[in-house]
Subunit: 413 residues, 2 copies
């Protein structure tokens, strides 16, 4: 089975919008083992669109079109495809009712041109649009399939997931399921070393993706049924967790700050932050999660030594002897903010974000993170090698991870 | 003059990477008035690539190809195009020397396969690659042009800007120049009202772009020479500045926090921040600019009332009488942090980021920003209508803008 993808819209040819639909469809089709040999973009121009569809049908079993299903005169995909395969367009009362309802709930009235969206080529199956007015269509003729999808990416993706996936499952005879394990504190090369052999499998597959200082492992299985696919993933997930379980912080759709806030709420623990080089980035990340006000108390951005002394009570001698960027000062900052704020956990971050301010002994990227909890305090050293923004972000992410480990009682025993 | 764009690479058909090159080229060509009638993606497959180039040449004067110029066996663009137009590939000693130099400065050694990148179709002009090893190529035959560009977006863009633009200028007989005016505190509809008539022009054009809480106005002129283009832009820039000069904060490539930090450094003024709903976002934005340590003193994230009282000296009665989200508390926070930190300018931010915490009197999105300067203090009210993250970001951007206006002596006279 192979496919081609045609994106329709003059706005694409003008570069006004990026063709993310093609990438999404390519990824999805690749996952089902469907070969995509070509993709193209055509403007809102009937004869060029017609030629593009003809050419695609001459090479592929399935042709996916996105865009051009709207109510305006330049939305021509429906008409062009119907004409090419000699199908009449018939007004579909059910679709029209749905469009009318869609407008009603939004307190708007459909206009005459919306009726075009209720025209269906004879014999075509309608693909429901749960996010907009333009229904999709599935036409079949002489062993070839044409799928018409709307252009707006969120409508297209929702329709693909709910309406096209069942068609692909039927056509390929296989069902696809995947699981995501979220990992913090492991690089791609380390992942390859730990789990490289597990990544060689064809089905299920295991693939790592690095993303914003973190990594996700995606396990994907292809089988005849969803149950079989789920069952196939279990052994590989178990094996992966045996090897790297301590760095897996969550599964599925979430992120590190959400997990941290949820854990703090569950345990009823509060946190306060004293930041130098990250300058509020940690406080911002924690409070990015709605409801964080129940666990976040106070943050102090102590960019200067005087602030560290006056507001956090970091002893002057400590700053003199060890310098502001030192494990001693990170610990004093963590303890200081916990006491000032009356918080259960105190975090102190001090480091050199760069690009200036480094020295041979204390290079750019050197960061100490102090953690105070239950009258104990520890400092952790990090050496980042990124830009100023990357180093700051890395420090924030690592601080979040240290809070997570503290709450999980992995650090202070 | 019209063009087609072909992106080469199986990784595109698998959806592993997004085809940003096509969008970039589309935008650039549209600016020169070149019509792009079609775009396509083909894999690393010689016969399909050959067919795609033939088809594009049958419809367009200029064909732009990206990708497939690397040193490995599946990089076939150079060979395929040479064969299609019956050109021999000749080893180019100059290119080879450049590749060898490129490797030398990176302390690496070119391998035998890199020699393929020094093969040039007879009669082709070489387009210099200043960011990588693969040179681009320009071939001309029977009034048709083929341009080969590398796949990595930063290499492709740099080559386009420096090597292709002169070709386009020659072919279209026109030179394109543009200027950017950065605006804060004006929405798109307001821009349309103020400057809508200026946007109707065909040459020069004036176009507004909303981006991250800000707006830029881009003036673009097409002329026979750069001098003419620059001269054509002057009247429209002058007229625009006459109308909206007070909201223009910079021209060219920069951003609001950089402008703010530069202004503070110039005037030798320091700033300190007290943040509630933005929780460190303002401190982070200011210190995002390298060198900010000379002007940023202290930040306090006062998420709870006790923190506002204890660390900022906000009177308990004020919080009781007016509530934490009030102009009175914003002013007290601004004054408090300026005194605690010994800073010239103090900023206090208090508001309801949402999604919870709103009431009919104080809805989600209500934010007060207090500014203390020269023993005076003022508060400004904002009503944002975004998500939690958008409201926080809007508050930070507006606070930056208030600092800018303070330093420019527009606010405290």
């Amino acid at each position: 089975m192979n496919a081609e993808i045609i994106a329709v819209g003059t706005e694409l040819l003008l570069g006004d919008i990026l063709n993310t639909n093609a990438q999404y469809l390519s990824q999805q089709l690749a996952a089902y083992g469907v070969d995509v040999y070509g993709e193209c973009v055509v403007g809102d121009h009937p004869s060029r669109l017609r030629e593009a569809v003809k050419l695609a049908l001459s090479r592929a079993d399935w042709v996916f079109l996105t865009g051009g299903l709207g109510p305006t005169a330049d939305d021509l995909t429906r008409e062009t495809v119907a004409e090419l395969w000699g199908r009449k367009l018939v007004f579909d009362e059910t679709i029209w009712q749905k469009i009318a309802d869609y407008f009603k709930t939004r307190k708007r009235t459909p206009v005459e041109s919306n009726r075009r969206q209720a025209m269906v080529p004879e014999g075509a199956a309608v693909l429901k649009n749960r996010c907009g007015t333009a229904p999709g269509l599935h036409l079949e003729q002489d062993g070839h399939h044409i799928i018409l999808l709307p252009g707006p990416p969120h409508e297209m993706r929702d329709m693909f997931e709910h309406e096209v996936v069942p068609l692909l499952e039927k056509a390929t005879g296989c069902v696809l399921r995947s699981r995501v394990l979220r990992v913090f504190g492991m690089g791609e090369s380390e992942a390859a070393e730990c789990a490289g052999d597990l990544m060689d499998g064809q089905n299920p597959t295991l693939a790592p993706y690095a993303k914003d200082n973190e990594m996700i492992f995606r396990i994907t299985a292809k089988a005849e049924t969803a149950e079989q696919a789920e069952a196939m993933m279990n052994p590989i997930e178990t094996e992966l967790r045996n090897r790297i379980g301590d760095v897996v912080y969550a599964t599925g759709e979430t992120d590190l700050q959400t997990v941290v806030v949820e854990k703090l709420l569950q345990k009823g623990l509060s946190v306060a932050t004293a930041e130098s080089c990250t300058a509020g980035g940690l406080a911002e990340a924690i409070t990015d999660v709605s409801g964080a006000s129940d666990i976040f108390r106070t943050g102090i951005v102590a960019y200067h030594n005087e602030t560290k002394e006056q507001l956090l009570g970091v002893p002057h001698e400590l700053l003199e002897t060890h310098g502001a960027v030192s494990p001693e000062v990170a610990r004093a900052m963590a303890e200081g903010i916990a006491r000032v704020a009356g918080a259960d956990i105190g975090i102190g971050i001090t480091g050199i974000a760069g690009p200036t301010g480094g020295s041979p002994e204390k290079p750019v990227g050197l960061v100490y993170i102090g953690v105070w909890y239950k009258n104990q305090v520890k400092a952790f050293e990090f050496r980042f090698a990124g830009t100023r923004a990357q180093n700051r972000k890395s420090a924030v992410r690592n601080a979040l991870n240290l809070i997570r480990k503290t709450v999980d009682e992995q650090m202070f025993l």
